[in-house]
Symmetry: C2
Subunit: 349 residues, 2 copies
């Protein structure tokens, strides 16, 4: 029956077409964008219900909800694009809370004139990464703004996951003596983005580390009884995230610079750009903190995962009413690691 209506409408010209204002008006053009692009790639039983929201199975256990709007520039970068990043970012925010991510929503703000071919690439890469992470994109929304009122495409993803019984991780759980691990080389995402920004005249072979961490987080939740908390050090980098956790848990932290894995090219690029890798964004790295009794096992589990083969124990939590994060340098000195205070890298995610 729907066929009878459809023959009035020419299919979208994805190869050469551009986003027009009416794709966001909620009428025929909006419906066409949904059916010929979003539904084609995100295809799953929940999205296909076609109602204002998705009707989903009951979830057994506590729910976790996290949201992230993505405004990364450029939208295509070495190692990913705004689509894959928008899946990884939210999958990771749900996962580090100890939850198994289940569902994502996707809200698009498109600028008039944005090429449909680029949108298709982005939607495809969202669909692929959602599949890899085992999550469904169950509901969505598209708005169009006039040329000059956006920057091609912004994507909000919001995720819902479910926490296994008896698990409640929190950044407030750390105690003196706890052990801090990071799952691999830091700073890759930020440097990959910086290297592609036209105005930097600077190139490197670093790829973004953007990836979904849920296979690693789920293994840690299952196997590490003393797991206190996990975080993905995105904007603000490792340094800011450790400060957040220290403040939240009312502990200090002592980390060793020599133990923090950083690629040589990233160190070089940071020197060139006047950046500190401690404050450069990651999109596929995990900080995990557990009691000292499980430290070795935590490291083993991280290293057993392809995304964690360079995992390291980088320090411990200590008593400190100032909640300072301090770093021992390779030369025996000690340096304060403060929160990122200025704007280091705009629109990194």
């Amino acid at each position: 029956m729907q066929e009878k209506k459809k023959h009035y409408v020419r299919p979208l010209n994805i190869k050469n077409g551009k986003i027009e204002m009416n794709y966001g008006a909620g009428g025929k053009a909006s419906a066409q964008l949904i059916s010929e692009l979003f539904a084609k790639y995100f295809n799953n039983e929940y999205l296909m219900q076609g109602d204002d929201g998705a009707y989903l199975p009951a979830a057994e256990g506590h729910i976790v909800m996290a949201t992230d709007s993505h405004v990364v520039s450029p939208i295509f970068f070495s190692g990913g694009d705004i689509g894959s990043l928008s899946v990884h970012g939210t999958v990771n925010d749900v996962s580090v809370c100890g939850a198994k991510p289940l569902y994502l929503s996707a809200g698009f703000i498109l600028e008039e004139g944005f090429p449909l071919a680029d949108l298709e690439k982005i939607v495809k890469s969202m669909a692929e990464e959602a599949k890899k992470a085992g999550v469904y994109i169950v509901t969505g929304d598209t708005k169009v703004v006039e040329k000059g009122k956006g920057d091609g495409i912004y994507i909000n993803t919001t995720g819902v996951g479910v926490v296994p019984k008896g698990i409640h991780l929190s950044g407030a759980n750390c105690k003196p003596g706890d052990v801090i691990a990071v799952s691999g080389d830091i700073g890759d995402h930020g440097i990959a983005i910086m290297s592609q920004r036209a105005n930097l005249g600077f190139e490197t072979e670093i790829q973004s580390d953007s990836a979904s961490l849920n296979s690693m987080t789920e293994a840690l939740v299952k196997e590490i009884p003393s797991l206190r908390c996990m975080r993905d050090p995105t904007r603000g980098g490792l340094g800011t995230t450790l400060n957040e956790l220290a403040t939240q848990s009312k502990v200090g932290m002592k980390i060793e610079e020599a133990k923090i894995p950083v690629k040589e090219q990233v160190t070089a690029a940071c020197e060139f750009l006047g950046l500190d890798p401690l404050f450069v964004a990651n999109e596929g790295k995990l900080i995990a903190i557990c009691g000292p009794e499980d430290a070795e096992k935590m490291l083993e589990i991280m290293r057993a995962n392809p995304l964690g083969k360079n995992a390291q124990i980088i320090g411990t939590c200590v008593e400190d009413e100032n909640c300072f994060v301090q770093m021992e340098t390779p030369f025996g000195g000690t340096r304060m690691v403060d929160w990122l205070s200025g704007e280091q890298l705009p629109r990194i995610c």
Copy 2:
């Protein structure tokens, strides 16, 4: 202990300050915006956990998830602002699926230079409307884009709700003979927005109808056993929404123009602007469809709610393999109600 850190930072100048790029960088300035503005107004136990996602109680029953990005222009309008609208829009999308809305996420995309005083007004109105609707804003995210890459503020809200046992509404449930009701005057939101757009040189006293409909939807879900589906006719208006439902349910619809409530000033404004109120957006109106046996009761429940005092039965579902929506005019003629096809009102929500 946190006090010791705080005295290094001057409080936000909300009265005269503006959004700077570093408010979105994930460091100190981001943390300050969260604690001095968002947390102050959205204050609830879930948001205050301070983790990457919110850890929420288990939900008994099927879950509904809905998302909406809000790009309305102007951001302050008669009867509301982008903040109140962003709560109503998503609360309603969750509610019309038959769910009790519980949680919202809030994702902000702010343009560099946006006044903090405006942001505070918007955040306040989100907080007020969330409280009225009985939902918590449990998690959030803020990104900042350069001047000229946004339009002040865009807000994504994503909502999660829980469906009472045994209820499964869907736009695919309508059958011939079912009765269609609308909860009140149509077109108010669209006309309120249009009247304030500077370039129209056109004024009216119409206020947006923007409101959370969950008290009405929850009563209908509870009291109307034959309730088939509900929708809020936003972008695309009543006409487009009825077409969506007809196509989804594979029925036709017959509606009576004389029964459709429209304010005189809205009719006049539509004539002046060359618009059809059937396609003008609403943000606080409900379409509900039930079996003929419950029609009177459905109308009673709607009218008992302050938001539904002008509710009307406007038509019925009929057998029609073309899924046409047809409208009987007051002069005895019949007119096809098609989907909105062009761009009628850009950035209406």
